[in-house]
Amino acid sequence: MIGEPWAKESKQYAVLRSNALNFASAELAPVADDLENTVDSPLLWKAVERAGEMGMLAALVPEQLGGEGVDLYSLCVALEESAVECAGFAAALLFHNAALLSMGYVERKDLVEEFTKGRPLCTVATAGEVSLGEGRLQGRAPFVFNVLEGTVALLFASSGDGRTAAYVRTGTEGVETHIDPYPLGWRVSNFATLEMKGAEPVYVLDKSGKEALEATERTLYLGLAAIANGIVRKSFQKAYDYARQRYQAGKIIIEHQAMRLMLARMLCAMEEGRAIIRRACGIEELGPAVIAWRGAVANSYGAHRDAVQIHGGYGYMRDYGMERLMRDAKYCQMFPRPEEEQLLRLLDMAERGA
């Protein structure tokens, strides 16, 4: 079918993909606009419940700790398919799964159990400046999604002796939540800055947490790449359909080369995205994950921008479903870290042989 990458996957992933796609079409497509307009909507929790039944809520956590123990590519498959219909939902799932993965690493079975139930989801904060001293957290962590009372966030904090990390629970003493009412994209879940004023962490991931953090970060990069790829696919589908029915200049617009080239670039983006994600999932290192993210989100930027363009004025209007893709996709590129910072870090890692 046009709009599906040529590269074939093994049966295991193909089945998973088809299940995830069915989930997205049945549970997300009909409610995606409502999810965008109402934070913490009951519709969201219904979809989360269904995602839980499909094993998407603790996908990466080993079975012995109560998770599904699937590999990272499987999660990416589920995220990509979810993002085709609702990137915000996919992002919520990603942050939740990334945080839960770290809880598995540090064997916090209690937290895993608590957050496999659904509301609230847990989350990850990668930006800002948070310090840990004398067992207390200070500072700000911006750009945190999935925030509700009782959410546990994994903070990548910095302390006196370098980078460390801790879990913090919202709604507890010393943790202030500043909700951003108006984020650009990923509107499905609450978007907030967490301000720590002497908060007591739920748990501190000391040096033993290093592995957990790397795994979490790797999950974030590849998950975001997968979401970006889902957006490319949706962009292509919608733009291709529209281009075949819109007449302008005496022909359907898909007959104009400018439109065909945009669509062809989207095909390339989809194929490349799928391939680089697959490849990076097979390498247990952070570097390839960063590279995959970089490629996939840049492709996705071009794709959704062009898909809006193909729709002309209609692309700019909320009712025609294109502009959400453009807003959601941008956050895949801005998170978890600014691209150039990440590039510099990549070279550092390569130099260290990491």
Binding site: A127, G128, Y182, Q248, A249, M317, E323, M334
Partner: protein, 493 residues
Amino acid sequence: MIGQELSETGKRLFRDFPILRMLWESGRKRGIRETIDIVEKAEEFNRTFAVPRALELDMRMEREPEYFDWEIMREACKYRFLSIFIPKQLGGIAGEFMVTNTSLLMDELCSGCSGIALAVGAHSLGVAPVITSGAMAHWDTVLKEIVEGELKRQPVTMAYAITEPSAGTDVEEPEYLERAKLSLEAKKVKGGYVLNGRKCFISDGSEAKYFTVCAALDRNRPLQTWTTFLVERDMEGFSTPRVELKMGQRASHAAELLFEDVFVPDSHVLGYEGDGMGNGILMIMAASRGPVGSIATGIARGALQHFLAWARTKRNGKRPIDEDRIRMNLADMWGMVQENRGLYMNNAMLGDAIFGKALDNPIMNLTLGLPSSLRTMSLMRNFLNSYYGKAMINAVLRYYLRDEDMTQLLETASLAKFSCADNAMELCSRALNLMGPEDSEERRWVEKCYRDAKLTQIYEGTNQLNRLVVNNIRFEETLRVEVPRPFKKGVMA
């Protein structure tokens, strides 16, 4: 020397636009002073009015897309932005450098909030055809009403309506119009026309009192019968049933216009029957696509200012601007802004060279110098609306507007439009990538700029269409603006 006479704004403009300094030094001080004055007003408008409310208003429009903040128009009246296109002889403020002033005004306003700026600017787009068509019979009524309303701070506004649900690109280019699927049709009846159909995405459409509307008299021969009408909101059968929820530039509405047996009298034809493309759209696009380039530039500049503020603020103990990569990105961004300004100023300067003469010449001055009571006498009005009256005014205007000039103007306009829009998108996107996950106010602004910028690639003809226009004029010479001549066969009814 210059420094002592100039305000800070003037100095900034001379630094950013050396061409203005050159004009000043070569004796065009009066005109350039007006230019500086307008930009100063825009700065004040932004500082005291637009910027403090922009984010809040943008957010509110998402929840309440039907809401319109009339304060915008009232405040615009205070600065006389509603008559930027109206000649001084009629009480407006269009000076020696009308197109340049409009471009710089839009650049400045859009650096504050392009949604608010669009609400102000789209009105002038509606006014333009009343001027360029030489429809003098309406100059003393509609334009005067706008000016008087402005002075009383009771805004009377216009909108320009060409896009139809099935024809967007098609109505912007003669070759495509020939094959367009149109919705709106104007049937000739005794004493006027009856309009039926729809227009869509019309900026300021739900607020305007007057509309310049293009419609085919025969949908099977759109190009030959494309005609510009002046429509009034309270004409029976006219309504604006819907506004869109836009991704950006939200402070202004994009509205649907519905025509159900709307009777428009003969006197409300602007120009002649059948000259709606050459005399109408192409002339307007030649004058307005450059300012759309300046809208994009303003948005980009706004994003750059917020990015710079972000870069100068200490985070995690250091300022982003202390890093080389941020400094280099800033230089790149400034390069994009100045590249844009070069392009839209080419268009603006050429526009002023052309329109300046057409609107400021002995015959025009003499006619406009007559007491308006004389021009509004019914005898005179009937004459101005008649075949010979229109031909007379047209002859004067057209004496100065040559086909080659208008064609070149359209080329520079289209070039500015798509280049500026692409640069603006690139700049906003890059700024966001560099900021990354930040909870700063600046990030929110740049996100808004990013949403706003996308529109500049779409309206006033998509960037694809504008690229084709440049090619067709410059390399293939297949597109030429033909300014209708009075008494030219086949043009007049």
